[in-house]
Symmetry: C2
Subunit: 171 residues, 2 copies
DNA sequence: GCCCATTGTATGCGGGCGCATATAACGCGT
DNA sequence: ACGCGTTATATGCGCCCGCATACAATGGGC
């Protein structure tokens, strides 16, 4: 969001970090827009469903996961009610099953269906190709590694510092 | 969106660009969430209103801009109907005026109000501080410049390559 | 064994978004 | 001056989101 007041030439105190953030925002929005379009048009999946399937595909054992675990992975992209309805739609589309957890009567266990696996496998190819085409293609591998290192360092630093309400349930 | 299948250790063919994209997505979502929260809580502005005000504040002459010009700046974050309603809300909140363009009967000219300027000035401080606190603080200035250069190169490359439907009005 | 605070999930509600479409003004060709 | 394709904006509609809240199950304290 919001790329206001870019330091074009001889502006203000010149803030390298702020400029970096603005460039990051611009790239993210531009690339994501095209990638999401590719997912929807070529794979028939919206980005939320795709993300959920991606996490489920990695889940052990075999595509099973608690709804609450998935929520932690998808937060803050989805709120708890938002995820609740997302998986309802996914169940309606036959991509996942929702079963009562035998160990905890409150919990719901998600189970990827075979159809879900197939849809995800196809979509993953679309996604990967789209990211390469719209992003990776323009970034030399060496710079990509540098970029990743810098960004991962930020993630680690943020995880460490006591950022408020990193916990899903707060207040 | 979607950070599936991260190359943790000895995974697949190892794709530096894809990993970079995933890190970018993770940082963007995490940081943006907190920045938007700060804007809403401390400045009482949602991110769309803030972005629009930021562009208007830079407009010459003095906070005037055509709706269609603003649309190009906000695209693809907002669609044309989305922006239409966004500025309607902004007008209702007294942040901008909407006047018929004397030179073109179809067009609407936006004019930032004094209240809009005040609200934006306050929000801009909140925004800048939040970005520094959640992002810039964790990124050395040298790395920030490297980051910006790599990302801006991607933006330029994307603008050059004939990416389909970069124009607002397509199809 | 009974409370009761906590945890896991679902739902009522209001609001914002995008798509398709409508409406109105423009301007060029004739 | 008329027609018609184009451009600028607005609106009907359906969908999805988050917030607040409801509800059910859990487990530790006593």
């Amino acid at each position: 969001m919001a790329e206001p007041v870019r330091n074009g030439a001889g502006d203000e105190p010149l803030d390298a970090q702020l400029d970096g953030w603005r460039s990051l925002v611009a790239v993210y929005q531009s690339v994501l827009h095209d990638v999401v379009r590719a997912l929807e048009n070529d794979a028939g999946l919206d980005s939320g469903v795709f993300s959920a399937l991606a996490y489920l595909a990695r889940a052990e054992p075999r595509g099973r996961m608690r709804l609450s675990e998935l929520l932690e992975l998808m937060y803050p992209r989805y709120s708890q009610p938002g995820l609740s309805r997302l998986v309802q739609r996914m169940e309606a589309d036959g991509l996942v099953g929702r079963h009562a957890d035998p160990d905890d009567g409150r919990a719901t266990v998600l189970q990827m269906t075979r159809a879900g696996r197939v849809r995800f496998a196809r979509a993953d190819v679309i996604y990967t190709d789209a990211v390469r085409d719209h992003f990776g293609r323009h970034l030399p591998a060496a710079e990509a590694r540098t970029l990743r290192n810098a960004l991962d360092a930020i993630l680690r630093a943020r995880a460490t510092s006591v950022s408020p309400s990193r916990t899903v349930r707060a207040r």
